[in-house]
């Protein structure tokens, strides 16, 4: 009947407003759907190779860097030990360096010192 009148700019504007309203209020997913989708995702997820899992388990690049440094240092000490041994008890101030001989009982290396 009034099609000419109805098909005006006002109607076009109204359609845009309706699109805006639809855009602002998307249909909400029913409860449980996201959980089911996430379950599927985990069920079909490719397993990473073994080396990558180990890499991740030790803390990634930083962890591997620390392990390499510690290994290299230990290897180095094995070949060329320091001339003056580093006693952790001395470092923390628990005993005097000169009193090492008195610590044989505590350190349980007395048998070695006595025999030597």
């Amino acid at each position: 009947m009034h099609w000419g009148m109805m098909m005006t700019q006002r109607d076009a504007f109204d359609l845009e407003a309706a699109f805006d309203a639809a855009c602002a209020a998307p249909p909400q997913m029913p409860d449980g759907l996201l959980a089911r989708v996430a379950e599927d995702a985990q069920a079909y997820q490719p397993q990473p190779p073994l080396w990558r899992r180990i890499f991740a388990a030790v803390g990634g690049a930083a962890g591997v860097g620390g392990l390499v440094t510690a290994t290299a240092l230990g290897f180095w000490f094995g070949f060329t030990p320091p001339q003056t041994s580093v006693d952790p008890l001395v470092l923390i101030g628990a005993v005097e360096l000169a009193a090492e001989d008195d610590m044989t009982d505590v350190l349980a290396f007395g048998w070695y010192s006595e025999e030597g």
Partner: protein, 210 residues
């Protein structure tokens, strides 16, 4: 690439409430992490992509239960493809929209054996009732009018004017040319305008208030 390419069509306001370019990059990164076995990426991808898939399926089908089936099936196909995903082949969201659109077409074909009245009436199952109340009268009227559009026009109008995708991406999703998308959206908008105006006239629905 900007979110909205001009596509050589006449200028018209297009919603840009979503940064599609940034979203695509994030989706691609998450998909790569998912394929590498990152469990957190699986949850994040599900949370990012499911709502978009469900929203499109619901708007096209007007049925919460069917939209749920389509969403789960579409994402299942994505998970299965992830290990062999070729990033240069397709954007994850475009690929997903395409699968959703095709699954919706299948659902609508299945319905054709049912009486026409059942197709025309917007289905209103329990899961969607709350959402419909939230959307308000104008949105309900739009949804009902969308469901009366021919399927291809409906998909194109929803992707363009509600999802806010560019015509080039819609062409890829619907497997047609950009000109066909322009034609589908133009005809769809014209039909919607006439339909909504007729409804407002018939129901005394004042569209100025919302």
């Amino acid at each position: 690439m900007p979110a909205q390419e001009p596509d050589g069509e006449r200028k018209e306001p297009v919603k840009d409430t979503y940064d599609h370019s940034a979203a695509r990059d994030a989706d691609a990164a998450l998909l790569a992490r998912y394929a590498a076995g990152d469990a957190a990426a699986a949850r994040l991808l599900a949370a990012r992509l499911s709502p978009r898939a469900y929203a499109h399926a619901y708007r096209v089908l007007g049925d919460g239960a069917e939209a749920e089936d389509v969403t789960q099936e579409a994402l299942l196909r994505l998970w299965k493809q992830a290990a062999n995903w070729d990033e240069g082949r397709a954007q994850a969201s475009t690929w997903l929209y395409r699968v959703v659109a095709n699954l919706c077409t299948d659902k609508l074909r299945q319905r054709r054996t049912e009486p026409l009245d059942d197709i025309d009436a917007p289905a209103d199952p329990a899961p969607s009732a709350e959402a419909r109340l939230q959307d308000g009268a104008r949105h309900d009227a739009l949804q009902a009018a969308l469901l009366r559009l021919p399927e291809r026009q409906r998909q194109a109008v929803i992707l363009r004017h509600i999802e806010g995708l560019a015509n080039g991406e819609i062409a890829e999703i619907l497997d047609v040319g950009v000109e066909a998308v322009e034609s589908l959206t133009a005809r769809g908008k014209k039909a919607l305008t006439a339909d909504l105006a007729a409804q407002r006239d018939a129901l005394g629905y004042d569209d100025d208030t919302a």
